[in-house]
């Protein structure tokens, strides 16, 4: 194992380095070599890829339109899995398999979207905090801690509901998926503190590194130091926390939708649970399928994050 880890990456890297495109990704390539040997991480990546596949190809492979309630007309609602409806139908005659597949893009958009918002806020605040230091650091970190102690979930429920009411009758109402976008933004706005903390720690560590000082001695300005030298080196740690956050956000959204605060127009797994949990005894498949989908997605992102930790910070685990 040890020998293999020293031998293979170098030779592969050299081959990769021949391609002009591979030039900038020295550390990423090394990370990938390490990641490839990590079974958990690969399993997580597989699960996430499957979810992405369904999200992208959903419309082509889903057997029914998501709003197709025709089974109801044939008195086949709540029918168990069969050849006609692979995962059965629910109490309103929807095909469970199609609904679950159409729920994948929603979950990913929520997860990735909210973490993008969180990453922008978190990296900015954490980066400033770590790079500038002193009073700014003190203030920003207290601000971050303030966000950490807020019972986020309740605040989100309240805000989603209030926003949903405020908007009625205004121009904003015409925006498609407004409710879902609100959830994404709010999840992002409340999800940045862990990212900010990691970003701060990394900036603090990296700004003292000799290569940063060397870059300064060569005449690099602050902008170049931050964006060319510090941020790319901080990314591995940030990517891990962001991958974890995506799983967390998807779970959060499922919880919000399960409580009935979700976007009624978007198909989400939490919402499917919300619609069907009362019929758990009569049509269990209608609740189990979206439940498993949530489980697989969140597990996938968490394992992926775990694998990324091993790949980028190998010393942490030894």
């Amino acid at each position: 194992m040890k020998n293999a880890s020293e031998g293979t990456p170098k030779t592969n890297l050299k081959q990769e380095a021949q391609k002009p495109g591979a030039r900038k990704f020295g550390m990423l390539m090394l990370g990938w070599q390490r990641f490839k040997r990590n079974k958990t991480g690969l399993f997580g990546l597989t699960l996430v890829s499957i979810v992405f596949f369904f999200a992208i190809c959903g419309p082509f492979i889903a057997p029914y339109h998501p709003n197709d309630q025709s089974a109801m007309l044939e008195f086949r609602s709540k029918s168990p899995p069969s050849l006609k409806n692979l995962l059965g139908t629910d109490r309103m005659g929807y095909d469970v398999a199609s609904r679950v597949i159409y729920g994948a893009p929603t979950a990913l958009v929520v997860g990735v979207g909210s973490m993008l918002v969180a990453a922008v806020i978190g990296i900015m605040l954490g980066g400033i905090s770590g790079y500038v230091g002193g009073m700014a650091d003190e203030l920003l970190m207290r601000f971050t801690e303030f966000f950490l102690v807020i019972p986020v979930f309740i605040v989100i429920l309240v805000m989603v509901r209030i926003f949903g009411i405020v908007v009625v009758g205004s121009v904003l109402e015409k925006i498609p998926y407004l409710n879902l976008s609100t959830i994404i933004v709010i999840l992002g706005v409340f999800g940045w503190p862990p990212i900010a903390r990691i970003a701060r720690a990394e900036f603090l560590r990296l700004k003292e590194m000799e290569f940063v000082e060397a870059a300064r001695c060569i005449g690099a300005g602050s902008v170049s130091i931050i964006f060319r030298h510090i941020l790319p080196n901080a990314l591995p740690s940030l990517v891990v926390i962001i991958a974890l956050g995506i799983g967390g956000s998807i779970l959060m959204e499922a919880m919000i939708s399960f409580l009935g605060f979700g976007d009624p127009k978007a198909i989400s797994w939490g919402q499917l649970l919300y619609f069907n949990y009362e019929f758990l005894k009569i049509a269990p498949w209608a609740s189990i399928a979206p439940g498993i989908a949530i489980f697989i997605t969140v597990l996938g992102f968490n394992l992926l994050a775990d694998g990324l930790t091993d790949a980028f910070n190998p010393r942490l685990k030894e």
Binding site: L13, R23, F211, E213, A215, I218, G219, G221
Partner: protein, 338 residues
């Protein structure tokens, strides 16, 4: 570069430089009023124990004193310009282009995520406004000069694929890219094998002449300065003890600290076996706390020639002869003996 052309022209003059660190425990007088300088084409060795302020006084030239340090007083005349008065933007243009630095630890002074070609080319693209291709060509040429085999192929390699000596060669190449008039080498060979040390030092000497540069060599290794430096400045506890040309300093050191420092250096022409009864001497005591340095001469608590006046009067630097100054009360012309 008009600066480089003329021989015997003054390249750098630091006057009364004072750098203070404002820490929680008090104000650390890391560099406390020092003067030094060098001529075009000269190599100045800046020697001293750890914590004597030698690295700080060289970083001050680039105005890159780490926090919480600040340059509180002094002039840094580089050519005809005072670097203290420059704006940050003007300094950025000088760093790397006119004054470059080589660091102690080559393993950490290259950014791990960029290939050698990217890191070095970037500098030329900033300072010289070259295109990517022109920059690459120049980088390859320089990598060849610093003794790297297959420089073209190395462009695409990453720092972790190079050995320590190779990395330091790359760092030297990086420092020389824009043909600076002054190179600051901060213990450039401390972290390398002895054999590679020698190679790097030889290479530095050669390139220094070839590029017509001046160099400030910061080190605690008397062997290295003996080999490299034209003139030597000895620092102790943030002040300068003695400045002289290398030959004079080694043969006839005037300051007690310089003499003691030379005594601590093992010599090939002396036997230290049981029989010879000769032992390597040690300077007793430790480098003082710079928050509350000793009164008078900073070295007096450890000096075996010190008397009561030394603890009261801070010695001024005295010119013994052209190019040889010493700051010691016992060596002032009025004291008679020397």
């Amino acid at each position: 570069m008009t600066l480089v052309g003329e021989q015997n022209a003054r390249l750098l003059d630091v006057k009364g430089l004072r750098v203070l660190f404002f820490t929680g425990a008090g104000v650390v007088k890391a560099v406390d009023g020092i003067d030094y300088g060098l001529q075009c084409g000269e190599t100045l060795g800046l020697v001293g124990e750890s914590g004597s302020g030698k690295t700080i006084s060289s970083l001050a030239l680039l105005r890159l004193i780490p926090r919480p340090g600040k340059i509180m007083a002094g002039e840094i005349l580089f050519g005809s310009e005072d670097l203290i008065l420059k704006t940050e933007a003007e300094m950025t243009a000088i760093r790397g282009k006119k004054i470059a630095m080589i660091f102690q630890n080559p393993a950490y002074s290259l950014n791990p995520i960029y290939s050698i070609g990217d890191q070095l080319g970037e500098i030329l693209m900033w300072h010289e406004k070259l295109s990517r291709r022109q920059a690459d060509e120049q980088v390859v040429e320089l990598l060849g000069l610093v003794g790297i085999t297959d420089p073209g192929g190395r462009l695409k390699q990453f720092p972790h694929e190079l050995s320590g000596g190779m990395k330091q060669r790359v760092c030297v190449a990086r420092a020389l890219l824009c043909n600076p008039s002054l190179v600051l080498a901060d213990e450039p060979t401390t972290n390398l094998d002895v054999t590679i040390q020698a190679q790097i030092l030889d290479m530095l000497m050669e390139l220094k002449d070839q590029f017509n540069m001046s160099m400030i060599l910061v080190t605690h290794d008397m062997g290295v300065v003996a080999r490299m430096a034209d003139r030597i400045t000895v620092m102790y506890a943030g002040r300068i003890c003695e400045t002289a040309d290398a030959r004079t300093l080694f043969n006839a050191p005037l300051h007690p600290y310089t003499a003691a420092l030379l005594e601590t250096m093992p010599r090939v022409d002396q036997s230290y076996s049981e029989k010879s009864k000769k032992r390597l001497t040690v300077i007793p005591g430790r480098i003082p706390n710079l928050i509350a340095p000793p009164s008078g001469c900073r070295f007096h608590p450890r000096c075996n020639e010190a008397d009561e006046t030394c603890s009261r009067i801070m010695p001024e630097s005295i010119k013994i002869k052209e190019g040889h100054t010493v700051s010691c009360l016992k060596r002032s012309p009025s004291a008679g003996d020397s």
